[in-house]
């Protein structure tokens, strides 16, 4: 993958959110519609193309924990709000490569995490669990060794304590388990096919209607 080679040449150990999602999208993993902009003219183009409501995020390979640094503005509904958010984020960012990611706001209350890690003995392993703020708090996660078969993917989703979140609950549709399985299997394949990828975090994967969408992602390389 060119993205990875380029980042390694630049001496980096992570891909930015934008690059990470380009990589996922290249493997047909559904990601948010988004554009990377670094001036106001491009911002207008992006807001028109993607459409409100939007999320604006500071985007650079140097920042991985955006929430803590005040670099995310959500539920942007007008050009005026977009302009203000863009300028605030650009001011708050330090570092050489500044840009703002303009992203569709995916609606859905259910947040999951899908990840990849490289185990010294087992090789690439895929993780599934509750996402967003619950990932760290509840640590409700399960692992499978790549390559995954469909049954592995289905089982690992049932393995977490909170697996009922995937059912049709509280008026929400049941999550599309086939689509989720496909992502889990693909993440394992990415690990097997790309030696240089050390870890992947896709967090959150939001269930929008019944379909999973990768809303934030981080790829660690070495």
């Amino acid at each position: 993958m060119k993205l990875i080679e380029k980042a390694l040449e630049e001496g980096r150990n992570t891909l930015s959110e934008y690059e990470s999602k380009q990589l996922l999208a290249a493997y047909q993993i559904p990601v948010t519609r988004e554009m990377l902009v670094d001036d106001v003219k491009d911002l207008t183009k992006a807001t028109q193309e993607i459409g409100y409501p939007l999320v604006l995020k500071g985007c650079s390979y140097e920042i991985s924990h955006k929430t803590e640094k005040g670099l995310i503005r959500v539920d942007i509904r007008s050009d005026k709000e977009a302009r203000a958010a863009f300028e605030e984020i650009m001011t708050n960012m330090d570092g050489s490569e500044k840009a703002v990611l303009v992203q569709e706001m995916v609606k859905g209350k259910r947040e999951l995490v899908i990840g990849l890690t490289r185990d010294a003995q087992f090789g690439p392993c895929v993780m599934f669990g509750l996402g967003g703020i619950f990932t760290e708090i509840l640590k409700d996660i399960s692992f499978r060794v790549a390559p995954l078969e469909k049954r592995d993917a289905l089982e690992m989703m049932q393995d977490i304590k909170g697996h009922k979140i995937l059912d049709a609950v509280r008026g929400m549709e049941a999550a599309d388990l086939d689509a989720l399985s496909e992502i889990l299997i693909t993440v394992g394949r990415i690990g097997l096919e790309n030696e240089r990828i050390k870890e992947i975090d896709i967090n959150p994967v939001i269930i929008s209607g019944s379909k999973p969408v990768a809303v934030d992602a981080l790829v660690v390389i070495s």
Binding site: G115, T117, C125
Partner: protein, 461 residues
């Protein structure tokens, strides 16, 4: 390696066993190993080896293994570590088929000389095709050969059974053995792997899958060198014999310095658990449930579905069992119309007649109790039965009344019980029913239900 696999059989079923480092001094392990062999009733030839003694426990001693005139199949070695390379070479020259190396002081010690010795003896054993259990192990026991090749003679008190234990810990093996004695659970083999020269979990699973005495394999592990090999091996035999694993070490956390959440949460433990499930190994997280589950798997068929009937002599234990079932994906099913009609005939309307059935009003009437159990057994909605009966003076005959047809029916579906009485009252009857394979009995309704949960959990893997 092929020769090592071929020599596994004589290792576990030797006709002659040498104890290298045998002793008549009870302060030495060589004494206890001799005691295990002799008291354990080993019928083959026992050859104590010790250059300084003429006779141990009434058996003539050889000064060295090469000095002994005859075939030696198994050598149990209890000499100090530095002597082991020489002993191994002698064993290789003598044509010994298998070795149990009890001695410690190899790669597990801080001194790098230990690792050097380890490599040295591994090279000798591999060249000669000798499978080695150990080093740093209490040994192994093959109950069906009356072979107690360990330093704990009391292991021979265990009953013969269908469970094989392969363990990385001597302490856990002893603990499980003692628990099993109290629970009247039997084993086919117990193997303490120790620090593993050339017999690891993989080789043991491979061997035990073909062992006619073993129906269930339980593994206790802390961490192993080649987990992928084990996974591949278990997968190869998928669903031939249940493999249950208890892996400790969940407190060890992932890489805290990791940049991603996935990396920081991926402890070795979590990855092991995931990989085991993938291979069809049932994960268990404590010793009690480990032995309870193995006992159920040895006695019961695997259920076809999650539908459970809970029949209790008293309502409370039934509720306790239902709670465990329902929290763990088993279903307390509705009976078929036909079954329900029968139960309604046998029980007065004041009782809870739907599932879970409170047989309270019929508890001193063993024929009514029997008829209810029989009706439920044949119900197609029911995949497994939990029967819970607490003794009372008025129902003392109930067990006798139902035991014959339980025995005839013999586990057409998993039949798990918590039948409990003061010591001495029903013990013989319960033992008779368990030994005949008619039921698996547990001290509490929760443990009985948990055993059923795990049978279904295995089926779902």
């Amino acid at each position: 390696m092929e020769k090592i696999a071929a020599n596994m059989d004589p290792l576990f079923n030797p006709r002659s066993v040498a104890v290298i480092g045998a002793s008549d001094n009870s302060g030495k392990l060589g004494f206890h190993v001799m005691k295990s062999l002799t008291k354990g009733g080993f019928a083959g030839k026992i050859i104590p080896v010790n250059p300084g003694t003429a006779e141990i426990m009434g058996i003539k001693v050889s000064t060295s293994i090469s000095d002994y005139d005859g075939q030696v199949d198994l050598a149990i070695v209890v000499l100090p570590a530095k002597l082991i390379p020489g002993v191994f070479q002698e064993c290789a020259d003598k044509g010994v088929k298998g070795i149990v190396l009890i001695t410690a002081g190899f790669k597990e010690i801080d001194d790098p000389a230990g690792a050097g010795l380890h490599d040295e003896i591994a090279a000798i054993a591999n060249r000669a095709g000798i499978p080695v259990i150990g080093p740093n192990t209490f040994g192994m026991i093959n109950f069906y050969a009356d072979l107690n090749a360990s330093f704990t003679p009391e292991f021979s008190r265990l009953k013969k059974g269908a469970i094989a234990l392969v363990s990385q810990s001597g302490g856990i093996s002893h603990l499980l053995g003692f628990m099993a004695m109290r629970m009247d659970v039997g084993f086919s083999k117990i193997i303490g792997l120790g620090n593993r020269v050339n017999v690891d979990f993989t080789q043991m699973v491979d061997y035990l899958m073909g062992d006619p005495d073993t129906k269930v394999i339980i593994l206790y592990l802390e961490g192993i060198d080649e987990p992928r090999d084990l996974i591949e091996t278990v997968r190869k035999y998928r669903s031939q014999k249940p493999v249950i694993a208890y892996k400790t070490g969940s407190a060890v956390v992932g890489d805290q310095a990791s940049l991603s959440h996935t990396g920081s949460m991926a402890g070795r433990h979590e990855v092991y658990i995931g990989a085991f499930s993938q291979a069809g190994i049932l994960n268990i997280d404590n010793t009690e449930t480990l032995i309870d589950t193995a006992k159920a798997m040895a006695a019961c068929p695997i259920p076809d579905g999650p539908g459970i009937a809970v029949l209790s002599g008293q309502a409370g234990p039934g509720m306790a069992a239902c709670d465990v079932c329902e929290a763990n994906d088993l279903m307390i099913v509705n009976f078929s119309e036909q079954t329900q009609q029968k139960i309604n005939e046998y029980l007065p309307p004041l009782a809870l007649r739907t599932n879970p059935v409170d047989m309270g009003p019929a508890w001193y009437d063993s024929s009514a109790t029997g008829r209810i159990i029989r009706a439920v057994m044949d119900d197609e909605n029911v995949n497994g039965i939990l029967l819970l009966i607490m003794f009372a003076s008025a129902n003392i005959d109930v067990l006798k009344g139902i035991s014959n047809f339980i025995m005839d029916w013999r586990q057409k579906k998993p039949f798990i019980t918590c039948i409990s009485a003061p010591p001495g009252i029903w013990d013989d009857e319960i033992r008779r029913l368990e030994e005949s394979g008619a039921m698996a009995n547990y001290p509490t309704p929760e443990r009985a239900a948990r055993a059923m949960v795990n049978l279904w959990g295995y089926k779902k893997l």
